[in-house]
Symmetry: D2
Subunit: 348 residues, 4 copies
């Protein structure tokens, strides 16, 4: 008999919430027990998202009364600051917590408080939290009670650079540059003029002039792997597509990289990683090649002069959010890591 | 020397407002004097709409203090109900008023009040208001003090059917059907989830299940030309494009239409209408062929059995709103009707 | 043990081909054996469609040498005229044939030859072919050797009207009107200027002025159910979205429909049809609510005067093509009809 | 009386051709005399591009018989290699030539021949050709007989970096990086699978893995201004929008830049350039803010560590092609440089 766990979702009405629902509705080991929404308690989930008609019969519950402690796992698809207010109670009740917001991503609470303008509610719990990037932290995730699910941009940058960082092949006298491009769903399902169809369609822009909150997250992770200070330049752009993220990374190789077959290095590093695909030399990826799927693809281009370009694509809502969260749950619960995630990309 | 008139715009921050600005900024006979915005008073217009940098140096004024009575013409690009509150004062001061909302479109105040849920503030003035469809009402517009600028859908339906209605060639035992499609800018520049890029892109839908406010407007205009009761079926659809409107009209011809060359009838009727283009037989129009321009194109297809299909395209923000408003101003002010409107469509 | 059948695909490089691959790659009862492509023989399927990397290891074979007779089922995702040239040989070898083109859709060879400009290669086989619309022809499909998989537009019109036609509730003195809208993938993966991104994006048009090939197909199916002559008016439109089809149907109800609860009629008719979803009264569907999935949704609106509007949506490549073909295979092979088709719609 | 010149266009059926037509149809000093097209000779221009109905009555002529020598100016909107075959004859007849392809952009014929795989037909004429970037070469353009109109990417990079290069403020020990993004119209109006709507919509990619032809063009221009060797890294990306280009430039400032107010430097440098707009500090541009217009906007961001990011936007078909060509003609013919180019951006 198939083992099933009870799953709760806090904040099911945003894009990461509905994406969790899409994936979990047919996950072989999951029984969806609770979905909360402050604003839409009492509404049938499938009335808000007709794409789920016939798959999900649950009704949104009021977060105040939802019985989350009866779950085995609870996902937070909420704004920053919500998960840290409830995590301790859940952990105490033996529930595993996966937060898709930023509450458990930054180990340094001062940095957290600076970028998110709020005190951290549970710094002690934060110390135990694991950064949920399975390809880097799988064994820690397996033991974790609380997961800080990585941001979408950080996932592309870290998986794009990990093979170089782990081998010490980057020359940190030059900055690491990430010119990153995101589909509009990354901005969430909030009523805002700037992401209206008539504003965001048939146009593009750079944004985040005052700094993007993924900057400190990436910087912390880079330094964790590099074990030394470095400069990280990050320019995010908004692209007129619903889903998809493409990060173009520019790095300078260290002299120790001379003679190293970088293509081969990446292929070896990710040979056993089901969700990371290193493209053959000379190929470049399109974001649609991962649309709706948990795969991330990497292409490597040498630029001469010791510079290397990496092009990394993922679906920002899947490997960049809900899919990675499910991957983390699979690891924590000892399921097949691919369970519920063998959904093929939708192309065209 | 070129004659110039002082122009005011009330409510310059929506899509019809910024479209008026685009057209009027280079209109040879216009001096833009005042632009109001309740929420953005004090902001430079070109700071809100960087596309206008270098063309418009005005700042949004507070509607409470804006000196609108010093204008020759005032356009209302406001929500329904605003123009009727200010029109009498302006008219008394000799200002001509062109309302792009619905306040002066429906002669029957009971119908207005039913569909717009508010009492009409100036029913006396409404009696003098002219429905600003130049191709049907040009001489009345020339004399008008107050113009109710037509809705976007009504413009396509009325210009699509006028040649038949004027000649009595429609069999009203069958309903007139308008299957209409609009770009998303028709929903306005309001922060709403349903018109977010990630909701409205790569998808389409019918809407207005409870009835669309253009239904009574079209019905009134149809009956005005038909001089008899008729059934009008109207299904609007939302299409993932910024601008553009295409209405497909289905009518049954009366027996008196037998032997009439309908193509020829349309070409004659609109031969002198610069902004109405009857396509050659066998051609069908694309909305992009009028993107950004004040032209409306019509194609005629016989369907057998006495049924006729008309395909009508326009830019909903130009001939369907701001462009038609400028055309009305040109007529009222005795300018060349094309002044400021010879902007070519943007293709591709 | 799970029963598996050997499946071949002729013409795997178009959109219906790659969609079959997406669905069949994870179908529990399918072993993909052969995929042919005249132009791309020798190319890895996953090199042409990187979305399939990790899921499909096959190489395109030359159609001349491909061992199709060793398959249990062969799908033709080819241009019109290909399947009829090979079907007899396959049938003789005991292979079941599902043609996604038009070769086996029109029982009247004269009509076929008029619209497709080619003689029919196997009129005898055509007589045995079954029109593969499961919700109407399930028992015949179960016995069939050859399936003519319905066109995308016909699927929406027939499922939209079947409940009325079966009960004799349509007044055929008025025409049946289908104002249909399709995403651009319906035009196929052919290098043509008119479907370039820069031509088809941010614009829409009606097309098929000279008649669309789905017209006779729909007309034949309508008359088959109506058992009497009728007029069918069909205007297809091209919409700037990749996938998705929305048909708005206008019919006049007969007097025998008076007092009939049409909403209830539809809900009953489709209560046991997993892939047909009748929306609650007052709701209208979006095409994205079925993106990538085999569901078709119907909404019913009364228009007064005895007229009814039906709004039907589907994914043109799934329920309108490849998904329906897999559904047919499931029926023919006695699999669960839903096998491999419980893929949730991708939203947003 | 307004002075008018006779203008010819060779190759009027691509996107730069139709864009020239849009701009020149209402240019106050231009009489469109000849438009050629090998494939469409005899077709009315407005039949191919219905957006031009009512504005252009010309018919495409056969290039073999077109009387181009009677023109004052001839634009080549043709594939690479066409203009150089006809330029000498035209120059000899006193016609000024503006080539929108690459024939006259690269002074070094060896580089030209390497990247374009064809011998240069008129190396002597090439020596006199002027690189038509008005903001850098205005006085030379005024005297020129032959203009090599810059590529779209090079225009953004050169105008983005010129103020720094002219003042010697770049540290060339680091590479200059251009992460560039283009709308799909940049790929031209050619029937190709990769730019079909269903391939290019709702997705993005990097391309040009084997090197992009604008790379040597930019490199040559950079070195011309820098007067020294440098490394230039260029990664172009394809974005799902029709028009628009955004280049994000990463440079390291030299020590001589310490204390220099870079924002002020840019504002001064371009204070008198009507088509170059330096945004206020802290603002970032959207491509739609220049849609359809000849403006280019630049934003400057300091990144710390001596690194600077420049974000440059333009409409690839206007300032990146046809608009710049008209600007060059205006200079060559001693017209107001803005003549015919005060077309406001289309927003939304």
């Amino acid at each position: 008999m198939v083992k099933k766990v009870k799953v709760g979702i806090v904040g099911g009405t945003g894009y990461t919430g509905v994406e969790l629902l899409r994936l979990l509705a047919v996950h072989p080991h999951v029984e969806l027990s609770v979905i909360t929404s402050r604003g839409d308690a009492g509404t049938l989930v499938a009335d808000m998202f007709p794409s789920l008609r016939g798959y999900i019969t649950l009704t949104f519950s009021d977060p105040a009364t939802a019985n989350l402690t009866a779950c085995d796992v609870v996902f937070f698809a909420t704004p920053h600051g919500v998960a840290m207010g409830q995590a301790e109670t859940l952990i105490a009740a033996g529930v595993k917590v996966i937060d898709l917001a930023a509450d458990f991503r930054l180990q340094d609470t001062a940095v957290f408080e600076q970028w998110y303008n709020m005190p951290h509610a549970c710094p002690e719990l934060l110390k135990q939290a694991i950064y949920g990037l399975p390809e880097l932290n799988r064994s820690a995730i397996k033991q974790a009670q609380v997961i800080g699910n990585p941001g979408c941009y950080p996932t592309t940058v870290m998986l794009g650079l990990a093979p170089l960082l782990e081998k010490g092949l980057i020359d940190f006298s030059a900055p690491i540059i990430a010119d990153a491009k995101s589909g509009v769903s990354g901005a969430g399902r909030k009523a805002e003029v700037s992401t209206l169809f008539s504003e965001a369609s048939d146009s593009m822009k750079a944004y985040g002039v005052a700094g993007h909150r993924h900057h400190p997250e990436i910087e912390a992770q880079l330094m964790h792997l590099a074990q030394q200070p470095l400069q990280f330049i990050f320019v995010p752009h908004l692209i007129p597509m619903i889903r998809g993220m493409l990060s173009t990374l520019y790095v300078k190789l260290s002299t120790s990289a001379q003679g190293v077959d970088i293509q081969q290095l990446y292929e070896s590093r990710y040979a056993d990683e089901y969700f990371v695909d290193v493209l053959p030399a000379g190929r470049l990826p399109e974001t649609r090649s991962v649309r709706g799927a948990n795969h991330l693809r990497i292409a490597i281009q040498s630029q001469g002069g010791g510079y290397l370009t990496l092009v990394v694509v993922q679906d920002n809502l899947v490997k960049g959010a809900a899919g990675q969260a499910v991957q983390n749950m699979n690891i924590m619960m000892d399921f097949d890591e691919k369970a519920g995630l063998q959904v093929l990309p939708l192309l065209p």
